[in-house]
């Protein structure tokens, strides 16, 4: 045993790792570098803001970067599980990365809280996915809000532009299915890469199909270009965006051209317009303030998803502590059960109510319909 530890220490240089006497160990795997760094960086920056104690026990967070590479995510998970003996893992940032690690988390019996978009990590529920909890609104939840708005305003045809990545893939799938139910037709579906220098061709295709509205599904600032390009080419219809666009840069990059855009996202964007009666408001504004203080900028929702994972754990850990000691399988299993039993937990993104069949746990309170008016995010009343 000693030899194993020694070799292990030498190999990973874990002698350098701090040995604070934390009782509960939580691993965090983010993509702070690589192509999806824009998702991972706010997540990584959120780690120091998360609850430091729960149920009287200190929580130690161990953050690793997977460089956006699924192989590295698996390695990071294995490392956290077998070297650090963590009790739960938050992450990874990317959908493919999350899909790849589920089985290893499940086999080791470690609860995993995935701040990723795709519902495929928790649906359909399987024996392995029992260990996975998802701290973002399912794309379907957001999509149905948009579709309701579309139906209400008499939109019959929609053009879709999405990124050529899991985010765009999943939105295309979810949106097409839900829209069909409301008799809204997707008349054009185009793809682009985040780094594309021009979207002229895609927007021409959309223009040619002449839909009543356009839905743009892209994470981060890449959601701006399709809209400005279409605007420049004289498209006059309505623009819809997903929660991927919910960040300050969207307004800055888009300027006047994104005026009137409709999107559904968490209340974080419009905190001051939300009534105080909303139980998520305080949690969210505390988080935003803390983040701004630490990093000098407002967080993108990706960061809040990780924060929510922290809140969920904070709630579940005291329950699980009654069943076992941290670091034991009994504790981890109890932690999973406790997470599944969380009811009505207000968090930054909405209110979580988990159940054995729903490991995402959001209801309509997890989304707000928001528009851009006078260059500001405005709640649609």
């Amino acid at each position: 045993m000693f030899a194993q530890r020694l070799v292990g220490s030498l190999l990973v240089g874990s002698l350098f790792l701090s040995c604070a006497h934390a009782q509960v160990k939580i691993g965090v795997v983010t993509s702070a570098t690589g192509p999806i760094a824009l998702v991972g960086i706010p997540q990584k920056n959120t780690v120091p803001l998360m609850p430091a104690k729960a149920g009287g026990e200190a929580i130690q967070y161990i953050a690793l970067d997977d460089g956006s590479d699924p192989t590295a995510s698996v390695s990071a998970f294995k490392k956290l599980i077998s070297e650090e003996k963590v009790d739960a893992i938050i992450g990874p940032s990317g959908s493919p990365n999350a899909m790849g690690v589920i089985q290893f988390a499940a086999e080791a019996g470690v609860p995993m809280l995935a701040p990723v978009g795709t519902a495929a990590v928790v649906l359909p529920m399987t024996e392995q996915k029992k260990w996975v909890f998802k701290t973002t609104q399912n794309d379907g939840l957001i999509a149905s809000a948009l579709i309701e708005h579309m139906a209400k305003t008499g939109i019959k045809t929609v053009g879709f532009i999405g990124t050529g990545d899991p985010y765009g893939d999943n939105w295309h799938k979810v949106f097409s299915e839900l829209a069909a139910k409301k008799n809204i037709k997707v008349v054009a579906a185009e793809r682009f890469q985040r780094q594309d220098t021009s979207l002229t061709a895609q927007s021409l295709k959309i223009l040619a199909a002449n839909p009543d509205a356009v839905l743009i599904a892209a994470p981060g600032s890449s959601s701006v270009m399709p809209q400005t390009t279409l605007f420049d080419q004289g498209y006059k219809g309505k623009f819809y965006q997903t929660h991927g666009a919910a960040l300050p840069d969207f307004l800055k990059l888009g300027g006047k051209k994104v005026e009137g855009t409709i999107l559904a996202a968490s209340l974080m964007l419009v905190l001051d317009q939300v009534p105080d009666s909303n139980i998520s408001k305080k949690v969210a504004s505390d988080y935003v303030k803390a983040y701004e203080k630490a990093n000098g900028s407002k967080p993108a929702t990706f960061g809040a998803n990780v924060y929510d994972a922290g809140l969920l754990l904070e709630k579940a850990i005291p329950v699980a502590l009654k069943k076992g000691k941290p670091g034991t399988p009994a504790f981890r299993s109890a932690l999973r059960d406790a997470l599944e039993q969380i009811r009505e937990l207000p968090a930054t993104q909405g209110v979580y109510t988990m159940s054995p069949s729903d490991h995402s746990g959001f209801d309509e309170r997890g989304r707000e319909l928001i528009t851009v008016a006078n260059g500001q995010w405005t709640l649609v009343k």
């Binding site: 990973v12 240089g13 690589g34 192989t71 990545d165």
Partner: protein, 605 residues
């Protein structure tokens, strides 16, 4: 076999094998999975070492090959609705491996066929392009799960065993790595291997020895693709999940880093490189937040700078820096296999003495307006030595190139043993019994003298890749090496068999080239300035050797500057100036010929 007789190769395989066998016993679980990854990376890197390090072809597309096979495996293992004709393949990992391999090899053959004829920088750029193209294809194809990939691949089941634990896969992965290493070592130490090793810096020479360099390139490329395909299969079962990112250009670049850091051209460098890069990344991730703070991400910056630094300090990679420091196993190197006993190679039917071997008829070669050879006719008979002499710029090299089919005459005909050969390539003429040396010595400095000379006998062996990899070629190989050894002893280099060819003196290197040419069992020897750089005694020995060859019925044509050497040796002399023939005849006549004297001494007026 007594321990003292172990070859360095066997010894190193045993050492590494032992170290590997102990792995899971001493390593913690997480490190086992890391070492598994290293094994998979090493397999890909090994292919690159062969392709880039040994054969000199740079490829950034290996990751895409890994992807083809990994996706095939993932698809076959997870699809519930396979087409009927594929249904049988769904359940068996072996079938997945076979189909993955076939698919990878098919794509590799296509891409290799397109790009391998290109030289220098086209290949890396070309591989970057198709590497990207395949990566985006993986992400776009719906049935491969799009950008989200294929998940839920069941654990690998072989012979009724379920391999789902790190240490179980460990033995499978490393057994395959070791097999690949052995196959590569065997390959390099064979007839095909020498041809591949000649690709880097000796292609012209190899072609002149009858090596089909394009075929050798393709072979190296396909072997590398095979290793990548096996790695992809292992990857799919280790990760049990496949998404496009690990097969991106980024990974292709990482594999190249591994190959170069480990030691380009060194088989063991693959393991070293894969391990160093993996652990380096891990160390950086563990250490940098403590050194530089947790707010930024410095891993890729420091990683990039470290590689720059490493390449500036040890461009040959860690292995090249490490190996001189290791205990020298070379002392125990056994004598060449089958040194004395083996059968001899079959010689081609020798021409009758006096038969016209080479007949050059009115050959003219123009380069634009310049006439380098004008209407030249000459012939060489079996058992005769003809010298072509002339001042610098007389067109001797141009003539020489046409005779060896490196260049084609503008008009006129060249007949070799009664067959017109102008327009054929160097490889074809080599096969017919013409063998040559080079004015600027062309040998492979890091290969041994014996191996260099054995390349000359390339066409006299027939064992291909499979028999080389499985060591079924030993009899054939022994014959080739014995022939090489015989020719080396014949030219007086018998004491230098196992030294690196690059360490020989220039004169000895010229002699080596003659031995190599003789290894091809030629009936015509073309020698380009064989006496240049030789000392007096060496020239005498060379002249004796040529006389002996002449007595055996060999036809020899040599281009030479050294008049003393020529006049005492050759039967006839052919004198050129400004691309024209100015005289031809016996040495004594030529020495008195006024035109020749004018050409050589006239410049002094």
């Amino acid at each position: 076999m007594k321990p003292a007789n172990l070859s360095p190769k066997t010894l190193s395989i045993l050492c590494v094998g032992l170290a590997i066998a102990l792995g899971p016993i001493v390593l913690p679980e997480y490190q086992v999975s890391q070492v598994n990854n290293i094994g998979i990376f090493a397999l890909v890197t090994l292919g690159l070492i062969l392709l880039t390090g040994v054969a000199g072809m740079t490829s950034f597309g290996q990751a895409a090959f890994v992807g083809i096979s990994a996706y095939t495996t993932g698809y076959l293992a997870t699809s519930e609705q396979l087409p009927d004709w594929l249904g049988w393949a769904g359940a068996s990992p072996w079938a997945a491996l076979a189909i993955g391999l076939l698919l990878t090899l098919a794509v590799a053959t296509l891409l290799g066929g397109l790009t391998l004829k290109l030289s220098g920088h086209y290949l890396p750029l070309g591989t970057i392009a198709w590497g990207l193209s395949l990566y985006y294809l993986f992400g776009t194809l719906e049935f491969l799960g799009g950008h989200t990939g294929i998940s839920g691949i069941p654990p690998l089941q072989l012979f009724g065993l379920t391999l789902d634990q790190g240490y179980e896969l460990y033995y499978l992965i490393w057994a395959l790595v070791l097999v690949a290493v052995i196959v590569t070592l065997n390959l390099l130490d064979s007839r095909e291997g020498r041809a591949i090793r000649a690709l880097r810096g000796g292609q012209l020479m190899a072609e002149s020895m009858g090596v089909n360099t394009y075929r050798s390139k393709l072979l190296a490329f396909l072997v590398a693709a095979t290793f990548a395909a096996i790695a992809g299969w292992l990857y799919a079962y280790t990760q049990r999940f496949v998404a496009p990112a690990p097969f991106s250009l980024q990974s292709g670049i990482d594999y190249m880093f591994m190959a170069l850091i480990g030691g380009v051209g060194q088989v063991w460098g693959a393991l070293l490189g894969a391990a160093s890069v993996t652990f380096l990344k891990q160390w950086l991730q563990d250490l940098l937040p403590h050194l530089l703070g947790k707010s930024g991400n410095y891993e890729s910056i420091v990683f990039g700078l470290l590689i720059v630094w490493l390449m500036q300090k040890v461009p040959g990679g860690i292995w090249s820096w490490l190996s001189p420091k290791l205990p020298d196993w070379k002392i125990k190197k056994p004598a060449a296999p089958g040194a004395e006993s083996g059968e001899k190679l079959v010689r081609r039917p020798q021409p009758q003495a006096g038969e016209v071997i080479l007949d050059v008829r009115k050959v003219t070669r123009r380069f634009g307006g310049l006439v380098a050879n004008n209407d030249l006719s000459l012939s060489v008979k079996a058992g005769e030595i003809l010298a072509v002499i002339g001042p610098n710029g007389a067109g001797k090299s141009t003539l020489f190139n046409q005779l060896s089919c490196v260049d084609t005459p503008t008009s006129g005909e060249i007949h070799f043993r009664g067959v017109q050969v102008n327009g054929r390539n160097a490889r074809q003429i080599a096969g017919q019994g013409l063998s040559r040396t080079f004015q600027h010595v062309k040998l492979l400095p890091t290969m041994t003298v014996l191996e260099n000379v054995a390349i000359g006998a390339h066409l006299r062996g027939e064992c291909g890749f499979i028999s080389a990899a499985l060591r079924l070629d030993r009899k054939d190989e022994a014959k080739l090496l014995q022939e090489a050894r015989y020719q080396l002893e014949r030219v007086g280099l018998g004491n230098y068999l196992h030294v690196e060819a690059g360490s020989l003196a220039l004169g000895q290197q010229r002699i080596l080239e003659i031995a190599r040419a003789l290894c091809a069992d030629p009936c015509l020897l073309l020698l380009d300035e064989p006496a240049a750089g030789l000392r007096h005694m060496e020239k005498q020995a060379l002249a004796d050797l040529l006389r002996k060859l002449r007595a055996e019925g060999m036809a020899v044509l040599l281009v030479e500057h050294d008049m003393d050497f020529v006049m005492g040796l050759v039967d006839r002399v052919f004198v050129m100036e400004f691309g024209q023939r100015i005289a031809e005849g016996l040495p004594e006549e030529i020495q008195k010929n006024p035109a020749v004297l004018e050409a050589y001494l006239g410049g002094a007026e």
